[in-house]
Amino acid sequence: MAGLDLDVEPGERVLLLGPSGAGKSTLLSALAGVLGGDEEGEETGELLVDGAHPASRRGLAGLVLQDPQANTIMSRVGDDVAFGCENLAVPRDEIWPRVLDALGAVGLDVDLDRSTAALSGGQRQRLALAGVIAMRPGLILLDEPTANLDPVGVAEVRDAVARVAADTGATLVVVEHRVDTWIPVVDRVVVLEPGAGVAVDGSPHAVLEVHAEPLAVGGVWVPGIPVEVDRARRAAGPALLVAETLRSGRAGEAVHEPVDVEVRAGEALVVTGPNGAGKSTLALTLAGLLPPVAGAVRATTALRGGAAAEAPIRWRPKQLATRIGTVFQQPEHQFVAARVRDEVAAGLRALGRSDAAVSERVDALLAALRLAHLADVNPFTLSGGEQRRLSVATVLAPAPRVMVLDEPTFGQDRRTWQELVRLIASLVDDDGCAVVAVTHDADVERVLGDRVLRLGAA
């Protein structure tokens, strides 16, 4: 981020847009005064919040981060909200009324003693917001607060923010890809350009009227411009995996009703349903990673080939990786190497492929997923979209015939979304793979849902 000139008036509600790498999150961290010191980067120019450097004015700005887990600090709901007030040395008599007010304002109606570990993502984000507004900041900063939430959670958080902004009159700066969610709440839209400061600035209506098309191309989800991915559907091939009266769960406790489903070559199966319905657990069970609680997952001979066992859970890791690939919800859980190139190669090397074969395959995948220029970078330093593409590349490397993806489009901008969905569609349509995709995303369901399995709460 460089060359940024921006004035935000008190009480304004700003939506900050821009492509990946434009410095949106960096700007928010700087405004919040948590950007870190000289050893973490360079700072030029001047940034003032209420006339002072933000790091010197603790409590003036409150920040909610993207990852709901990262926002929770204390073990109990009441303590978590009180934490900011305590740090600002608010007298005790005043803290608890503030805590109750804040929880009321975000509509989080749970006991003060409730464990924060038991909250859903949407509740967690509202808790974080309550913790921020209990500090009575003049400036509320939200860094993609709804990116990791299901549609219900998104609406909860958005409504809570709208109510808080209306009640407190605080200045609001939101970073988000999903414009339609936030348009009702904001009165100004600012678009950043990587390394070039403000590209566009104006009322939501004016900005979207004139710049909708370039914004969409740059990765912003602009209302009225739907995403399209062309499919060349083929007739579904043989069944590869068969689930019979399958119930999956952890530690012997089933989280959903029995499911009968076939995973077929050349066909994508979308698994959807509300939070807690057991979608991810079902996917991991189909993928041979969790043992079924009841019923069975069978691999047909078309998938099994030489592998002895019929149940994928009994396969050795190498047998599994060459047949069923799984892309996890959080890419960082999957990373094992210090360089992108080694990350893609790790699975192939474990399979004992020759060096020449490994490097040929790795180069092809890195090129296909636009990661070639990052080959020597540490996977953990990649952006969210790049990490997601890398995790897909690692799983594709041993060329499994079944791909299981858990929320592949979670928190992705429009551009990455299209790349990912296009890639998944081509696996199904061109390569005849079977895909199982767990998703909350209605667009993913529309494009990839050759068949849809809807789970209800158990």
Binding site: L88, T116, L320, E332, H333, Q334, V336, T394
Partner: protein, 252 residues
């Protein structure tokens, strides 16, 4: 149980120190046995059941017999020799020491663990910062860290599954665990970093702060300290009167 929840969590720590020092001055069967009997009466009268005691102090129920057996076999022999196999000698002296050591581990450890295990980390942190006046930044950072343990448990499960999914689980158990542990460490450091940012964003790190939950000392804390002193004094008194007091500085 309830009685323990009403004392300040700092008090049992102080009491444990106060109690352990005199109890470790002597190695004899009488003082340990008296102390154990006294604690059994105390636990029963404040409603701490045997199940709670076992659940909280089970590591000692394993450690005590082990240390007793090693004393039995390897203590410097004296008195009549009962059996001898290579370096292991069972003598009058080693039998006596084994009993004394085994009982002592229990007499010192069991009440300490019963009082300290299961202390709510939040209350403990409040006590350490407000009563013991430890630096609040340090205490709160540690407290926030304890919450991460639960999160890291789930991370560990995901990492293990992800490694299997990638075909990386075929190497030996040791190598596999080391690699997974390293992956967990990386995730933990990242979680720690974001946690620090979240805490800073809520104004953490200033010189002054207030406490939403008061942490104070009351008469119950005084009772606990007195009780502990009384048990230690009784145990040592009975041991002295019985002539079995055997100070550690006089050598084994």
């Amino acid at each position: 149980m309830k009685a323990l929840e009403r004392v300040n969590p700092v008090t049992p720590i102080l009491a444990a120190v106060l109690y352990s020092i005199p109890m470790l001055l002597t190695i004899d069967v009488v003082s340990a046995a008296v102390a154990l009997a006294a604690w059994a009466i105390v636990f029963a009268s404040v409603g701490i059941g045997p199940r709670t005691v076992v659940r909280r102090s089970w590591p000692l129920l394993v450690a005590a017999p082990l240390s007793a057996v090693s004393m039995l076999l390897y203590a410097e022999p004296a008195g009549r020799i009962h059996a001898q196999v290579w370096l292991a000698v069972i003598s009058d002296r080693s039998i006596e020491l084994a009993l004394a050591i085994g009982l002592r581990v229990l007499a010192v450890g069991v009440p300490t663990l019963v009082a300290l295990v299961g202390v709510d980390p939040t209350r403990l942190a409040d006590g350490l910062a407000q009563v013991a006046r430890l630096p609040h930044r340090f205490v709160l950072a540690a407290l926030a860290g304890t919450r991460l343990f639960g999160v890291l448990g789930e991370d560990w499960r995901q990492i293990s599954l992800a490694r299997r999914a990638r075909g990386l689980g075929d190497t030996g158990v040791v190598r596999r665990s080391l690699q997974a542990a390293f992956a967990l460490l990386v995730v933990a450091l990242r979680r720690g970093g974001t946690l620090a940012t979240a805490m800073e964003a809520r104004g953490f790190g200033g010189p002054e702060r207030t406490w939403a939950r008061p942490s104070t000392l009351g008469w119950r804390d005084a009772v606990l300290v007195l009780l502990v002193a009384l048990v230690a004094a009784t145990a040592l008194g009975v041991s002295l009167a019985a002539g079995s007091f055997s100070p550690v500085w006089e050598g084994a």
